[in-house]
Amino acid sequence: MLAYLIRRLGQSFLVMAVMATIVFFGLYMVGNPIDLLINPEDDLAAQEEAIRRLGLDQPVYIQFLQFLKGVATGNLGVSFVHNTPALELILSRLPATLELAFFAMLFAVLIGIPLGMFAGLYPKSPGSRIIMGGSIIGFSTPNFWQGLMLIMLFAVFWRVLPSGGRGETTELFGVPVSFLTLDGLKHLILPALNLAIFKISLVIRLSRAGTAEVSLQDYVKYARARGLSEKRVVGVHILKNILIPVVTVLGLELGNVIAFAVVTETVFAWPGIGKLLIDSIGLLDRPVVVAYMMLTVFMFVMINFFVDMAYSMLDPRIRIKAGKA
């Protein structure tokens, strides 16, 4: 188990290093941040002073070496634009995104699994057809359009929910969160739902396929033959068997939801890291983009790791194999 853990960590460091290199040089090729950062009305000496301060007067490989030196000491660079450490900047925006992602996943599970199981248990009912049709729409329409539609329906047409922003926040363990106030919660619902639509559709499909397959197994029939209630048969015997693929996919998707909440955050003006990334790319704020990417990779690695742990909790057969390996 320990060997597995160390190997896993080593792999993730390698991935992070490669990622950082690619992003660093990639952004260097996209454009020169000087053009955007320097005030052209300043005199030449002031301009040169600014360029030197940002380290942009050096050749690119020197810049890269300096970046590596910084990484080794835990410093991912200072934002060109905000003049604060990039990592600090991202971490200050992270709670908003995490909150959004958490609620999106919650929606995906709480809405997706019951609907999917219903469609799997009663494949021919009209309800199932509506659910499956809905999931196709959820899959295939672009996310920004879904967001705009949500705003149009709930914010413009019915005027029940606000269209953007984070609303009132309160501090929870020193971190500002929205979901503890009524106003914040109202602001949270639409973006979280928008971020969740795709995941809900995915979970519906997975749970439906799983339920349809598991329902035919002998052990489900046997559970009924033992006189168990339908609630117990569906809620324990079937549910526990379909959770493995759902947890796998949701685990991978959790990373996606956090890392690529960009569209939703832009549409709903949600002040999270996705919006920060878009702004930073627009301004060629290289330290922020690189730090963001490295953080994202780290997050994916950690999530995959926890998904593996969750498997063994769900499926005793995997537990045994892992113990022997």
């Binding site: 035919l216 197994q217 002998d218 052990y219 489900v220 029939k221 046997y222 559970a223 009924r224 033959a225 033992r226 006189g227 168990l228 209630s229 339908e230 117990r232 324990v236 015997h237 526990k240 068997n241 769900l314 499926d315 005793p316 057969r317 045994i320």
Partner: protein, 325 residues
């Protein structure tokens, strides 16, 4: 004579498929007395398993009991609602499935599955239920039952799992057990162990047992009465001694002759020519006619039951009357 535990009268079970209506069980009647073992014998597709599931009211779609009565202690199961059936299943009427590898839910521990069964029918605490489960495992010859309870199904061998399933069936002292080829998936030594165990357990209990099998040798050692099924109907019925010593139906005779024995050593094995007919196009007359060596023109008309002696009847125009020799 005491009242039978189970009394099946003119049972008809049909499957409405796209290709037409399939009559899997055709006008089947039999009784099971308390303490009596009824063996239902037949080839694959003869309707024996469907008869079992019809009694349990657990037919898969699109199977349906069309007509007839299934009286369990005088109560017609066809007329009970699903709530009442749930209460009866596992409590008054238990079932043992064919493949022990597929019967127990792979992701739930043995104790979970036993305790949930007990608690579905008895108002007992978890600790009491655990004690009942432990005693039941000990009774079927499972060593150190308290530890075995905490294992998962995949940690046990096939024979052990079938013992667990038998323990679950016996645990609540039902009036009737339906065993659907419970030893078919096991190797011979385990099979004889399980059969021995069954005989031992039945001797001191007054429960009825239906043993569904294709194996006449198993029936010979275990059953009191035998019903031979062919193409959805019982073609011969009688006590085990009479039926095996003087099989009257050409099909029964064929089944017995197909068993390799010492007497046939060195000779070519006898077999019944042809295959089980498709239930979709049986046509009129005796369904065994095309494969029967004794078929005459009279066989174009469906034969009635001919009583040969008290409690021994055959559905054939030309029964084999000389004793087997």
């Amino acid at each position: 004579m005491t009242a039978p535990v189970l009394s099946v009268r003119n049972l008809v079970t049909e499957f409405d498929t796209r290709a037409g209506t399939l009559r899997a069980v055709n006008n089947v009647s039999f009784d099971v007395q308390p303490g009596e073992v009824l063996g239902i014998v037949g080839e694959s597709g003869s309707g024996k398993t469907i008869t079992g599931f019809s009694i349990m009211q657990l037919l898969d779609q699109p199977g349906k009991v069309k007509s007839g009565e299934i009286l369990l202690n005088g109560k017609d199961l066809n007329k009970e609602d699903s709530r009442e059936l749930r209460k009866l299943r596992g409590d008054r009427i238990a079932m043992i499935f064919q493949d022990p590898m597929m019967t127990l839910n792979p992701v739930l521990r043995i104790d979970t599955q036993m305790i949930e069964t007990i608690q579905a029918h008895r108002n007992v605490s978890k600790a009491e239920a655990r004690q009942i489960a432990e005693d039941a495992l000990a009774q079927v010859g499972i060593p150190s039952p308290a530890e075995r309870l905490k294992t998962y199904p995949h940690e046990m061998s096939g024979g052990m799992r079938q013992r667990v399933v038998i323990a679950i069936a016996l645990m609540l002292e039902p009036d009737l057990i339906i065993a659907d080829e419970p030893t078919t998936a096991l190797d011979v030594t385990i099979q004889s162990q399980i059969l021995y165990e069954m005989q031992r357990l039945l001797s001191d209990r007054n429960m009825g047992l239906i043993w569904i099998t294709h194996d006449l040798t198993v029936v010979a050692g275990l059953a009191h009465k035998v019903a031979v099924m062919y193409a959805g109907r019982i073609v011969e019925y009688g006590s085990v001694n009479e039926l095996l010593d003087a099989p009257a139906h050409p099909y029964t005779r064929g089944l017995i002759d197909s068993i390799p024995s010492n007497a046939s050593h060195g000779k070519r094995l006898t077999q019944i020519p042809g295959m089980t007919p498709s239930l979709l196009n049986l046509g009129d007359g005796c369904p065994f006619r095309p494969r029967c060596s004794k078929a005459t023109d009279a066989c174009a008309v469906d034969p009635d039951e001919h009583t040969l002696s008290e409690g021994h009847w055959v559905r054939c125009h030309n029964p084999v009357l000389e004793a087997k020799g």
